[in-house]
């Protein structure tokens, strides 16, 4: 197996106890036409199974990444975890607390303080009418984390410096900043309540390539400094390789493979994972034939029978069309594939990460 030439400083695999646990998590969206259209035009109800039952454990101090094509439900998972959507079924546990349990405002607020989110679009995630200072101070004020205005100011100035901006930037408005700078402001706001767990929903996908690395390095630096745990959502596999401890591959609302980053990139098992890895361009992969990602993600309103991937899978047989594969443990990870389970398909060794 080739050694990595690029310095990768991703957080090490930790044997720590899970901080976040998602069990049998489901979220359906009702996208039915209006009642009148259903009655008059006999249109059926339509339910999108954005998240169709996933189990994830995120351990303290690690970066868990979710990857997959657009529409596979990874952003929905992010929004479920921070409570922007209520789950249709299943449970979210944060540090042993069931998020769905009824509790008082104060108690709820104490849990919310510990988890924050960084959003995808830095041009939409900051209120255009607010000064940067007020944007970053909002969580501090909302959670009453400072007793005086001078303390708020100190804290905000400190946060601005942590994300490599200056305290003077606090008096400006978001439109005076570039995309990368706005994402730093967004990170400062997320850190303002001193959280332990950050959900990052494609935080670099709206940025220039040159700025992406800066933001990622900043995020990793902050992770080391504050001992943060990340749930990282991305469709950019190069980025995921750079920062993740473990990676989960999602397809049509389900996890098809979970493994340590190196294992996933060097010994991919699920055919879908292989297909995704084949799409990463690199310079020295000569000769080997790549399978293009064929077809499109099927509609999550009407998912294929059996294994949802079978219409696009080169190894699919009759059983794949009929029966949904169970998740089986393999080489420290998890995979849901009949071909792997039956031994028809072997894990494939491949180089990744520079040579």
């Amino acid at each position: 197996m080739p050694d990595t030439g690029v310095a990768v400083s991703r957080p090490p695999a930790s044997g720590g106890k899970p901080l976040v646990r998602l069990s049998a998590l489901k979220r359906y969206f009702d996208v039915s036409p209006p009642w009148l259209a259903r009655v008059l035009e006999r249109k059926p109800r339509a339910i999108v199974q954005a998240v169709a039952g996933i189990d994830i454990e995120i351990r303290k101090g690690e970066t868990f990444s979710l990857v997959g094509e657009s529409g596979c439900g990874k952003s929905t998972v992010a929004r479920l975890v921070v409570g922007l959507y209520p789950p249709t079924d299943g449970a979210i546990e944060f540090d042993g607390n069931d998020m769905a349990a009824r509790r008082g405002r104060v108690e709820m607020s104490a849990i919310r303080r510990r988890m924050q989110m960084i959003f995808q679009d830095p041009f939409a995630s900051l209120n255009p009418r607010w000064r940067v200072f007020d944007i970053i101070a909002e969580p501090i004020r909302a959670f009453k984390l400072a007793s005086s205005t001078t303390e708020v100011r100190q804290r905000v100035d400190d946060l601005l410096r942590q994300v490599k901006l200056t305290p003077a930037d606090g008096s400006k408005y978001p439109h005076e900043f570039s995309g990368g700078q706005r994402q730093r402001i967004s990170i400062a706001r997320a850190l303002a309540s001193r959280p332990e767990f950050l959900v990052c929903d494609e935080p670099t996908s709206a940025l220039d390539v040159s700025v992406q690395a800066q933001i990622l390095n900043l995020m990793m630096e902050l992770q080391r400094e504050h001992g943060l745990t990340y749930l990282f959502i991305s469709h950019n596999l190069a980025v995921v390789y750079h920062i993740s401890t473990r990676v989960g591959v999602m397809y049509l609302g389900r996890l098809v493979e979970v493994a340590d980053t190196d294992t996933l990139f060097r010994r991919p098992k699920h055919p879908y994972t292989r297909m995704l890895l084949d799409t990463i361009p690199d310079l020295d992969m000569t000769g080997r034939q790549r399978a293009p990602v064929a077809g499109e993600v099927p509609s999550p309103i009407n998912p294929p029978s059996g294994c949802a991937f079978h219409p696009r899978c080169p190894f699919a047989n009759d059983r794949c069309k009929r029966e949904r594969p169970a998740t089986i443990p393999i080489e420290g990870g998890l995979v849901a594939c009949h071909a792997i389970e039956e031994g028809r398909l072997k894990a494939e060794d491949r180089g990744y990460g520079g040579h």
């Binding site: 922007l84 709820m108 988890m115 939409a124 255009p128």
Partner: protein, 305 residues
């Protein structure tokens, strides 16, 4: 410090530059300012208080304006009660402006409130509010005002009615005008509430009403201000129309519309000034306000910059 800062920002803003670049807008602003100042300084610059019957002398009735055979004490002539038309126009304009501003204020509050709730909460509440708005839209403002005025007249005495006529007219025009604000605000809110800055506030766990007022409302106010400006002219015209029809303000406290109605009765017998002068004032005021509204709409529309 903050005030100076905001003045400097205003002077440097796109809006100010677009204002300076449009002579028509500056002229409209000047006319509006002139009329508004004259109206609100009426007690200082009028020759008499036309609302006070003790000032009126019937022997002064129907004096022509000066330059048309009249005298200095009645520069724009007098009406059938011996009221100085110049003073009556000043006071009438003030009344028209007050009614217009009050209508804009109340319909804005009602419309923004309902629109915000409908757009942010959505669901059944949204459906109920918007169906009421749809029903409201099928009645013209004049019809609603006639209806309310008719009911009120049936319930209370004539003398009492004259006292509360202003409130009746403000209430009835406001009821007709809130729909536009509600629809606009609802549409903008439905766009804004899905933006990530609102989600960021929700992740913090802020209560709904705080998110609505602190985050969503300031970001939907642009189009609302445009409607408010354009509606000011419309409200003044509606009040004038109602007063002209005789269901608005009584002739004891005439607004511009009431003056035009009074003058209309004498138009064919040669006393043209009682209609023409209030009419010109009304036309100038509404035209100027509408031009300002049009300009504001274009200035705030990023696609037209």
């Amino acid at each position: 410090m903050a005030l100076i800062d905001s003045f400097r920002r205003a002077a440097d803003s796109d809006i100010w530059h677009s204002f300076r670049a449009s002579p028509m807008t500056m002229a409209a602003a000047a006319v509006t300012l002139f009329i508004v100042l004259a109206a609100f300084l009426a007690p200082l610059i009028a020759l008499q208080n036309p609302f006070d019957p003790a000032n009126l002398n019937l022997s002064d009735a129907m004096r022509p304006p000066m330059f048309f055979g009249g005298e200095w004490s009645f520069p724009m002539g007098s009406d059938d009660q011996g009221r100085d038309l110049y003073s009556a126009i000043l006071y009438g304009t003030r009344l028209s402006l007050e009614v217009g501003l009050a209508v804009v204020f109340f319909s804005m509050i009602l419309g923004i409130g309902l629109g915000l709730v409908a757009g942010y909460v959505g669901g059944t509440l949204d459906a109920i509010i918007m169906r009421i708005a749809d029903v409201q839209l099928t009645f013209p403002a004049i019809l609603i005002a006639l209806l309310i005025d008719g009911v009120v007249r049936g319930v209370i005495s004539v003398k009492r009615h004259e006292e509360i006529a202003v409130f009746v007219i403000v209430a009835s025009i406001s009821l007709a005008f809130w729909v536009q604000y509600a629809r606009t605000v609802r549409g903008s809110v439905m766009v804004e509430r899905n933006k990530e800055y609102v989600q960021a506030a929700r992740v913090i766990g802020l209560p709904r009403w705080l998110i609505m007022f602190r985050h969503v409302l300031p970001n939907v106010m642009g189009p609302v201000l445009v409607i408010a400006t354009i509606n000011l002219g419309l409200a003044i015209i509606t009040e004038a129309t109602l007063s002209f029809l005789g269901v608005g303000l009584p002739s004891t406290q005439p607004s511009l519309g009431t003056l035009i109605r009074i003058g209309n009765e004498y138009l064919n017998s040669g006393e043209w000034w009682i209609t023409i002068f209030p009419g010109l004032t009304l036309a100038a005021l509404v035209l100027a306000v509408n031009l300002l509204g049009d300009w504001l709409r274009d200035a705030l529309n990023p696609k037209l910059r």
